[in-house]
């Protein structure tokens, strides 16, 4: 059994009468690409925010690298890199300065900082434009810079919330390729997405959720077999539309 780097035990989060997350239990293993799938309002972003310690669960327990969230969030966050949904970059800073800023906040200094910034710039393919202002980047380049920002401190867990949303086909392909590269480096990648093709192409296991509840959990192959459907999209539609009990 592989080590669980993120563990959720009967986690719920309520906003007044709205149950954004309802009794969610799951484990995310070291080195896997884990997909959190669901339609809008499924509670994906709320789950991510709880995992990062930004929101406190109404009930239940969350452990990240063995640290309880949000009580030990400062310790756990050294191991987390986040690309939030609809995030942006500091447009008045260059790509390199954006990365250096976050690297410093994660405690990187001197030679190590420079080396790491160069590495991630190379990884996301922005080395040549590193000294241009981020405000001059295209949407796809900004998104890649955000991915670089999420991994500049070499975290064990990378959380990508809707990383391909609103990007053109070329940018989407680059991001998918990046996700694979991250996983090859031994990191755990948590991917929340509406785009089932993203999940199909990159995820080792997925959790399908709707209205805060977990509907199914497993590898895509396991889910196809269990629900006797071909392709993730068919499984997803049947689950979310309530055709499968």
């Amino acid at each position: 059994m592989l080590e669980a780097v993120v563990k959720l035990e009967r986690v719920s989060k309520h906003f007044g009468p709205i149950k954004a997350v309802d009794g969610l239990s799951l484990e995310i293993r070291k080195g896997e690409v884990f997909g959190l799938l669901g339609p809008n309002g499924a509670g994906k972003t709320t789950t991510v925010r709880m995992v990062c310690g930004l929101l406190k669960p109404t009930s239940g327990r969350i452990l990240v690298m063995g640290y309880e969230m949000p009580r030990e969030a400062l310790k756990a966050r050294k191991h987390i890199g986040l690309l939030p949904q609809e995030s942006d970059v500091y447009e008045m800073l260059t790509g390199r300065e954006n990365l250096e800023y976050f690297a410093r906040l994660y405690g990187l200094e001197g030679e190590e900082l420079n080396r790491r910034v160069e590495e991630v710039l190379e990884l996301v393919g922005l080395s040549k434009r590193a000294d241009d202002r981020a405000g001059e980047y295209s949407g796809g380049m900004k998104r890649r810079l955000m991915v670089a920002r999420a991994i500049v401190h070499d975290p064990d867990i990378v959380i990508l919330d809707e990383p391909t949303m609103g990007l053109d086909v070329f940018a989407v392909r680059r991001i998918r390729s990046l996700i694979k590269k991250l996983a090859e480096g031994g990191r755990t990648v948590i991917l929340t997405t509406n785009d089932l093709e993203d999940a199909e192409r990159t995820c080792d296991r997925v959790a399908i959720r709707d209205k805060g509840r977990l509907l199914a959990l497993g590898s895509i192959k396991e889910l196809e077999e269990r629900f006797q459907e071909k392709g993730l999209e068919e499984v997803f539609v049947r689950l979310v539309e309530g055709e499968v009990e």
Partner: protein
């Protein structure tokens, strides 16, 4: 419905549903004009004898002349003073001059020993008047006394001269300096603070920042220091602007108007002014943090900030030309409760009224207390989940009439 009407209706509906609209379109103008109106009502009221707002004022009088015209002049002064709600204290000349020297009176009139004799022998005489030019009220009373005395004496075909001296001059440039400096210090951090919290939140970069292993109080401190830097630049530019203004007006008035001569500050005064500016920046930035944490967008934050600025700073313009002590107690209490007023009071103490350390210490402590309170509140707000989560738990329901007013139908 025509397209332009559809668009207009949608725009109005959006505006009516925004709390910002209420603040910037309704409360600010009404509140600002109310406060400025109050200031001017008191200011002009104090110059008008019939005004119910003319607060009691003390003045000092010495009548050395025992002759008939000395006594007539005294009667005239007492009548004018009575009409203008002024309490006259008769003092010997030595005591009167001592009060003037110490700045413990705002108006002192001396009718000299030879007043009647000179009128009878030379057909002309003079009175000596010392006025605190920073007191609008004292200036108005002095003016009224002079007019009444001249009328009375000149009716008898004599000529009267007034030897008017200033207990304190009205240092226009210095008063402008204090106001400019403090308003700059209040306004300076605004663009930075609103974009640094509400802006980061709006662009969703705050979420990434909060996921770093950095304590939130460190983030707050970093942003606070940067706001101070922005404010320092703003203040510096304002001071350059003041020098330009001063030079322009000084040139135009050919150096005749003393009020516009360049201020010369001692090192001690400069240090106090700098302290007042720093305290004001700290206060403004702290209040800005609270606003920025509560606001949902940069626009909202700017509106709230502007509302606070207008409602707290505009009244200060009202007291630009008058002594704070001349205001009625209730208005003074209100203004003293506003922490930004104390920045002006500290600077005015330093450059106009002499360094009154006890008063300044109270003002400094008050501003610090507000700043610390706002910072603690800001830090608490910054720790809340709402800083990243826009969904809010509704703890109360709007009353039905309010729901109807803002309903979509």
């Amino acid at each position: 419905m025509r397209p332009w009407a559809v668009i207009a209706k949608k725009e109005v509906r959006e505006q009516l549903r925004s709390k910002r609209t209420l603040a910037s379109l309704v409360i600010v103008p009404i509140g600002m004009w109310l406060l400025v109106g109050l200031m001017h009502a008191f200011m002009f009221g104090m110059m008008t004898p019939e005004s119910p707002l003319a607060t009691p004022m003390d003045m000092h009088l010495t009548v050395e002349d025992q002759g008939v015209f000395g006594q007539i002049a005294k009667e005239v002064i007492l009548t004018v003073a009575g009409n203008m709600n002024v309490i006259v204290h008769e003092v010997p000349a030595d005591e009167g001059k001592d009060l003037v020297e110490k700045g413990d009176t705002v108006l002192y009139v001396l009718i000299p020993e030879d007043f009647t004799e000179r009128l009878l022998t030379e057909n002309r005489s003079r009175v000596e008047i010392w006025v605190d030019m920073t007191s609008t009220r004292a200036s108005a009373v002095a003016q009224a006394i002079m007019v009444a005395l001249k009328e009375t004496i000149e009716q008898r075909r004599f000529h009267l001269e007034a030897d008017q001296k200033a207990i304190r001059k009205l240092p226009l440039t210095l008063m402008m300096l204090s106001l400019m400096l403090i308003t700059s210090a209040i306004w300076g951090p605004m663009p930075f603070i609103t974009t640094s919290f509400a802006g980061e939140r709006e662009k969703k970069t705050l979420e990434v920042l909060l996921v770093t292993p950095v304590e939130r109080r460190s983030i707050l401190l970093g942003k606070l220091l940067a706001a101070g830097f922005a404010a320092a630049i703003y203040m510096g530019s304002s001071m350059v602007g003041l020098v330009i203004y001063n030079s322009l007006v000084g040139w135009a008035t050919a150096g005749v108007m003393e009020e516009f001569t360049s201020p010369t500050l001692t090192l001690e005064q400069a240090a106090v002014i700098l302290l007042a500016a720093v305290l004001t920046v700290l206060l403004s930035a702290s209040v800005g943090i609270v606003i920025s944490c509560l606001a949902r967008s940069v626009k909202d934050a700017e509106s709230y900030y502007s509302a606070i600025f207008m409602l707290t700073v505009m009244p200060l313009f009202g007291v630009l030309w008058m002594r704070f002590e001349d205001l009625p107690l209730a208005l003074r209490a209100f203004m003293l409760a506003v922490p930004f007023t104390h920045g002006i009071l500290i600077v005015n103490n330093a450059v106009i009224y002499g360094l009154e350390w006890q008063n300044m210490a109270i003002s400094i402590a008050y501003m610090l207390a507000w700043s610390i309170g706002a910072l603690v509140l800001g830090a608490k707000l910054f720790e809340r989940e709402e800083i990243v989560e826009t969904r809010r738990i509704r703890r109360f329901r709007k009353p039905s009439w309010l729901r109807k007013l803002f309903s979509s139908r």
